[in-house]
């Protein structure tokens, strides 16, 4: 479990996160939704220690994250940011191999190779593994980065808008991979999402943010409701059940 206790982050005078407390349960997909600038990505970055915080604490399975050694932390929690521009020219396999760095320090052993194969298989990139990243389509590239995170084999996987710029087919593919990770390997996945319908269809738990605070959190049925969403996004919503899913209409 990840416990977040009254976390504060401010840039100058602006409070991006204002006393946020939250528990993220193990073995589930938790989605962060909310308008731009609500603090979702910032919270994700704070949990994964990419940026510092100005107050509060984050615990990973009861342990204060700031006290966990860098390498140890990288074996337990991984993060994938939305912008993944890399300056060096790498093949898919080379990128995925980087996921083993916390274990191998660059010298791959038999066990590492096994994890790399498994990650490629999970993301169906075996045929593309020797292609360079700049030769891939957006969806394949995103899958390659997810494969790296899978090879990293952490219990917790944090993803910042993994569906950004992807078409419907690739978005569904990626969400299915994530579901499989949770179901088969017992991973805990936290995603920042902009598409509410994707959040509704694939999450176990949804946390709605606005203006640096959590407006409401709960199961899909509790959050994907007209009143809640209108409050969060300040837009008119129509929510309907279609094939046992909650689908929003807001166009």
């Amino acid at each position: 479990m990840i416990e977040i206790k009254s976390v504060v982050k401010q840039y100058g005078r602006k409070r991006v996160l204002d006393n946020v407390s939250l528990n993220i349960e193990k073995g589930k997909i938790t989605s962060f939704i909310g308008p731009n600038g609500a603090g979702k990505s910032t919270l994700l970055s704070i949990i994964s220690r990419l940026i510092g915080k100005d107050g509060g604490e984050v615990y990973l399975e009861g342990q204060l994250v700031d006290r966990i050694d860098y390498n140890d932390f990288a074996r337990r929690l991984s993060i994938l940011r939305q912008t993944n521009h890399i300056n060096v020219r790498l093949t898919v396999r080379e990128l995925v191999s980087f996921g083993r760095f916390p274990y191998s320090e660059g010298k791959l052993k038999a066990e590492d190779l096994e994890h790399i194969e498994k990650a490629l298989e999970y993301t169906q990139l075996q045929d593309e593994q020797h292609k360079y990243l700049d030769e891939l389509s957006g969806g394949q590239r995103q899958r390659a980065f997810i494969a790296m995170v899978i090879a990293q084999d952490t219990d917790y996987i944090l993803l910042d808008e993994p569906l950004n710029n992807l078409d419907v087919k690739h978005s569904v593919e990626i969400m299915k991979i994530l579901r499989r990770l949770v179901r088969e390997l017992g991973k805990t996945v936290v995603i920042v999402m902009h598409d509410i319908n994707f959040a509704s269809c694939y999450s176990d738990h949804i946390v709605a943010f606005n203006k640096g605070q959590i407006v409401k959190e709960g199961e899909v049925e509790e959050i994907i409701r007209k009143e809640v969403l209108e409050d969060v996004y300040d837009t008119n919503f129509v929510v309907q059940d279609i094939m046992n899913r909650r689908i929003c209409f807001y166009y």
């Binding site: 994964s48 990419l50 994938l80 020219r89 980087f98």
Partner: protein, 316 residues
Amino acid sequence: MKTKQKIYVLSIILLILLFLYLALGLNPVIWRYALSLRIPKTIALLLVAASIAFSSAVFQTLTNNRILTPSVLGLDSLYMLIQSFIVFVFGSGTLARLGENFNFIVSVAFMVGFSLLLFRFLFKREERNIFFLLLVGLVMGTFFQSLSTFMQVLIDPNEFLVIQNRMFASFNNMNTDILWLALLISFLAVLFALKDLRTLDVLSLGRENAINLGVNYDYMVKKFLIIISILISVSTALVGPITFLGLLVVNLAREILKTYKHNYLITGAILIGSIALTFGQLMAERIMNFSTPISIIINFIGGLYFIYLLLKESKI
């Protein structure tokens, strides 16, 4: 060709050039004397090439930029300022009397001290990133340059000649005592970095990916920046400003080796740097008859290559 084979080829080219440099024009009468001059120069060439290549390769990885060299930290300009200042205040006579040893130690101490101060000031606050450091380094470099120019125009033209001699890197009038000291310091600095070479591969993925993969990013950047500043300070104080060479050799190494692995990349850059300097020195000694300092040859070729790089990058 595999990366390893390319490295072997480069090594062979270097060995041939080194042999040529050492052996050309030797005869039974002067060989002892000639070698006593050429061997220290060769060692200095290799040391400078290795320092510049190593620090430029690491610096480009830290900044994630292929057209930067550590010269943006302003160390070259600081070196010129120190030289100008000594001549301006005490006169070139004092500079000669104090000896090269003293000058070397003072220059290295000031340059390393300056960089440590810069890093300390910059890393105190979290949100300042490495590009802020570059900006400050650039501003300070320009400031040092203006100060040196100011002093240079005020002094006696004869004194200015002494400074001018130091503006261009040269292997011809080097003191052997300093060479061993320089070798020792650089060796220790590199030793300190050796076990983290693989971390550089991860650092080239950028800050966020590096942290995600368990690298203590801030610590590593600080550590490598300190090593870079020591290496640059030592080689600049030894032969003069020559950091431009780094741009040339690291990019050539990237072009030729086409690898992201830093152990190959750095080895390749060091070999190419050594080849370039040995070849340059051969040209300067045999063809130009010592009339042109090697750094002019290097800067000429480096400049052309830099323009080529800019043109190529703008096309993409």
